[in-house]
């Protein structure tokens, strides 16, 4: 068997372009249709939530505050309309209160945007911090083995056997009063277990590879081997897990707030909104629909992005999805 002559690719009119691993991954991700449209939708939702009511002292383009009580117009019906007039609708209209008003006349659009801000912020903190803890614990356990591994992995086992929602509810009862950031940090303290197991598994197989042995042989210290030699090889798994962890965190926080052990007033979150207006479902269903639709959209788009990343990082995927 002789190797084909190097000119054959050009002879067929094809050019071979050398690409780095990162370029390949990026290419595969950008061509993943579901993931890209999800990314676009997610960015739009985040932009809407951030720019409309503004962040902190910076005002947004929406003039109605999420705390302002006012007169209830038209029983608080939403004024948003997307059905054109020739189809019997009211035409494209944003209106005075696009998402309607709640019982005390607070504009529901700004309330939902505020809830989205808080829920997304918590989800990102939980996702990223949880990933960080999971990676650290998994890396230590997988690299050093021995007693470190036994203790860390048994700790993981202990946390896994307790129902996560209940465990977080116990702590959320206290942390919820101290603002959403504290709550997010507390939730993150218990959501790292799955990733720690995965990272440990990756480390266990990688640490036996020749290039690690070579690094050890020339006297590279442990922390450097972990950072420079092993972690870059597990980055795909970690990024995918972090994305899925964010989606999980959105659902976890909203469920927690729904039960009353998450975000506490005066702060609000999407889960709190669902729980607050569950009773007015029969009379004003939109108070219930909007936050739910936002939770679903955020979780769904993040899950799709995670799926796209998983495909992009999968080396077996030679074919570029179109």
């Amino acid at each position: 068997m002789s190797a084909p002559p190097p000119v054959s690719a050009q002879a067929q009119g094809m050019t071979v372009v050398a690409r780095t691993q990162a370029q390949l991954v990026r290419r595969r991700f950008f061509r993943h249709r579901a993931a890209m449209s999800s990314l676009l939708l997610l960015v739009l939702i985040l932009l809407l939530a951030v720019t409309s009511i503004g962040v902190g002292p910076i005002p947004g383009w929406w003039d109605k505050p999420y705390t302002g009580i006012g007169p209830v117009v038209d029983e608080g019906r939403p004024t948003l309309s997307v059905v054109p007039t020739f189809l019997g609708g009211d035409g494209l209209r944003w209106g005075e209160h696009p998402f309607g008003q709640e019982n005390q006349g607070i504009d529901y659009f700004s309330l939902t945007m505020r809830g989205t801000q808080i829920s997304v912020m918590i989800a990102f903190i939980v996702g990223l911090l949880g990933t960080f803890i999971g990676v650290a614990i998994g890396a230590l356990a997988g690299y050093f083995r021995g007693w470190t591994e036994t203790i860390l992995m048994r700790l993981t086992d202990v946390i896994i056997i307790l129902p996560l929602l209940a465990l977080v509810a116990v702590l959320g009862r206290v942390a919820g009063n101290q603002g959403p950031v504290v709550l997010a940090v507390v939730i993150a303290l218990f959501t790292w277990t799955g990733l720690a197991r995965i990272v440990r598994g990756e480390f266990l197989s990688l640490r036996e590879k020749e290039f690690i042995e070579a690094a050890r042989a020339v006297g590279t210290p442990g922390h450097r081997i972990i950072r420079k030699h092993i972690l870059p090889n597990t980055v795909g798994v970690i990024i995918v897990s972090a994305t899925l962890a964010i989606a999980g965190a959105v659902l976890l926080e909203t469920a927690l707030s729904f039960l009353g052990f998450g975000v506490q007033p005066p702060d609000t979150s999407l889960g709190r909104l669902v729980s607050d207006y569950e009773t007015s479902f029969a009379t004003r269903p939109w108070l219930f629909w909007w936050p739910g639709v936002f939770i679903l959209s955020i979780a769904l788009t993040v899950n799709f992005i995670g799926d796209g990343l998983r495909d992009a990082f999968d080396p077996r995927q030679n074919k570029v999805r179109n």
Binding site: R154, D157, V158, I159, I160, I161, L162, P163, L164, L165, A166, L167, A169, V170, L171, R173, V174, A247, L251, T254, A255, F258, L259, G260, F261, G271, V274, S275, E278, F281, A282, P285, F288, P291, G292, I295, L296, A299, L300, N303, F304, D307
Partner: protein, 510 residues
């Protein structure tokens, strides 16, 4: 194997101990049980604080208190002593008493949800794996993404507000319109066409069969007034028994060698005859009677299969036993539905309930109560299993695809076995091994989900016990929740590990 099980038992016990300790400390840190009394301005404030401190041992440091609590809880492990002591609630009730009232409903919910989720998820997973990259596969993938992203509490409220109320209204005057029938027919047709697959013509024919079957059945049932008082009847049971005999034979061995078919058919006939002659036994049985009948069915099935199996004895035994079990299931459903009129009258025609785990003060005999529990389970289970179904189906699909690429499957194909044998006997059983570990994980998730579901549907179960206790800063009932869920998770994990080791000999050695 014994050493393996012993080691797993030890590890599980330690895990549970540390887990309960962690939960106990966290609960103690989560709030002050005296909070409401401190703000009290009544004259006997000091006395009440002292009484509650005494009741909950609040003067003892947390770590020591855990061991006192553990001393009481350890007595629960002594069987039949009746000294189980999980402490007292903030109102002085025994937690063991509170738990005994709450545990039944929750375990029922979890059990039914697990069985349903595993069954549906595995079937969907296998079908989508066999029809990889088909439209059905893509739809199932999309659906599983939506299910995983759906906030459980929100979906549960939607079910309650729309499905329950609409179904109940519709049952007041149950007439299926042609539009609904066509819509349902389209869904069943598409599903059936997707499952059968094959060439375009074959898919279209399957779609037609599914469409006519779905829409026609609905219209027929509506026209005969079946929805007014649903039931199966002895003829329906007979048809289902014979159909399961034929279906199982087709699945397990095919019709090339007749003995399996004959064994399954004999079993179906035995079931039909038993259904007609056991009226007195089944009039108002108990769970023990049903269990006994199930064991009897299995024994008879084994006997029939063994006697008639011939060369395919093993498949004959399997087919006969499963035919018997399915026939028995049909009989149970038939008897349960016979209580429909009585039950519908008791609940004023609002058959799909949205609150609680049973109708208060309703006693319709064994079958009536069973129907009552079933209707109460319907919506919470539906809400609860969505995430699990998605997980199981994705996992099964991936696992089946991996197994189908293995060398031994290729070998099985290349030696000329037909596709059914390859899938059922070579791929399916190995593909399901990883699912055992998933079940243990998933049950812990379901227990967390039960907290939400019970809140939405107003069940007086363990989830409710937990949320109430947490709101009132009542440590012992909250702890009881963690003990039960932790014990369940640890036990299931252990069983899964043992099952895994049994199914996959490579695990045992390490």
């Amino acid at each position: 194997m014994v050493a393996f099980i012993a080691r797993r038992l030890m590890i599980s016990a330690v895990l549970l101990l540390v887990g309960t300790f962690l939960a106990y400390v966290l609960i103690a840190l989560s709030g002050d049980p005296l909070q409401d009394l401190r703000q009290d301005t009544g004259p006997d404030r000091e006395n009440r604080i002292a009484a509650r401190t005494e009741l909950l041992d609040l003067d003892t440091p947390v770590v020591l208190r855990y061991f006192l609590w553990l001393g009481g809880a350890a007595k629960c492990l002594v069987p039949f002593a009746g000294e189980c002591d999980l402490g007292q609630s903030i109102r002085g009730q025994d937690v063991t008493f509170l738990l005994s009232g709450a545990i039944g409903a929750t375990l029922r919910l979890i059990l039914v949800a697990t069985v349903m989720a595993v069954f549906v998820g595995v079937v969907v997973g296998i079908v989508t794996a066999l029809r990889q990259y088909s439209r059905l596969d893509y739809s199932a993938t999309l659906a599983s993404f939506v299910f995983v992203s759906l906030p459980l509490f929100w979906f549960a409220v939607l079910l309650k507000q729309y499905i329950a109320i609409d179904v109940n209204d519709w049952l007041g005057d149950p007439v299926v319109t042609v539009g609904t029938a066509v819509a349902v027919g389209l869904v069943t047709g598409l599903a059936w066409g997707g499952v059968i697959g094959g060439s375009r013509q074959r898919t279209l024919v399957s779609f037609g069969i599914g469409f006519v079957g779905g829409a026609g059945l609905l219209l027929l049932l509506s026209a005969t007034g079946w929805f007014d008082s649903p039931g199966i009847g002895p003829i329906g049971v007979a048809v289902m028994a014979l159909a399961s005999a034929v279906g199982l034979t087709a699945l397990l061995s095919g019709f090339g060698y007749r003995n399996v078919l004959y064994a399954a058919l004999v079993m179906a006939v035995i079931g039909i005859v038993a259904n007609l002659s056991l009226g007195a036994v089944l009039f108002d049985p108990g769970w023990w009677t049903l269990l006994l009948l199930l064991l009897l069915t299995v024994a008879v099935g084994v006997g029939v299969g063994y006697a008639m199996g011939g060369l395919q004895r093993r498949q004959a035994v399997q087919a006969a036993v499963w035919t018997g079990v399915l026939t028995g299931f049909a009989v149970v459903v038939d008897r349960m539905l016979s209580a429909w009129d009585n039950y519908a009258e008791a609940v004023n025609g609002r058959v799909v309930p949205t609150f609680g785990s049973e109708t208060p003060n309703y006693d319709g005999g064994f079958w009536g109560n069973l129907l009552d529990s079933t209707t109460h389970l319907a919506l919470p289970t539906l809400a609860l299993i969505l995430v699990s179904v998605a997980t199981y189906s994705r996992y099964t699909r991936a696992s089946m695809l991996e197994v189908m690429n293995q060398d031994y499957v290729r070998t099985a194909r290349s030696k000329g076995l037909n596709e059914r044998t390859v899938i059922i006997r070579h791929a399916f059983r190995n593909g399901l091994i990883p699912i055992t570990t998933l079940i243990a994980f998933d049950v812990a998730g379901l227990l967390g989900g039960a907290v939400v579901t019970e809140t939405v549907f107003g069940w007086q179960g363990m989830g409710r016990l937990f949320t109430t206790a947490l709101t009132e800063v009542d440590p012992n009932p909250a702890m009881a929740f963690f003990v039960v869920t932790g014990a369940a998770a640890v036990t299931l994990n252990m069983l899964a590990d043992i099952a895994y080791a049994y199914l996959d000999p490579r695990i045992r050695v390490s």
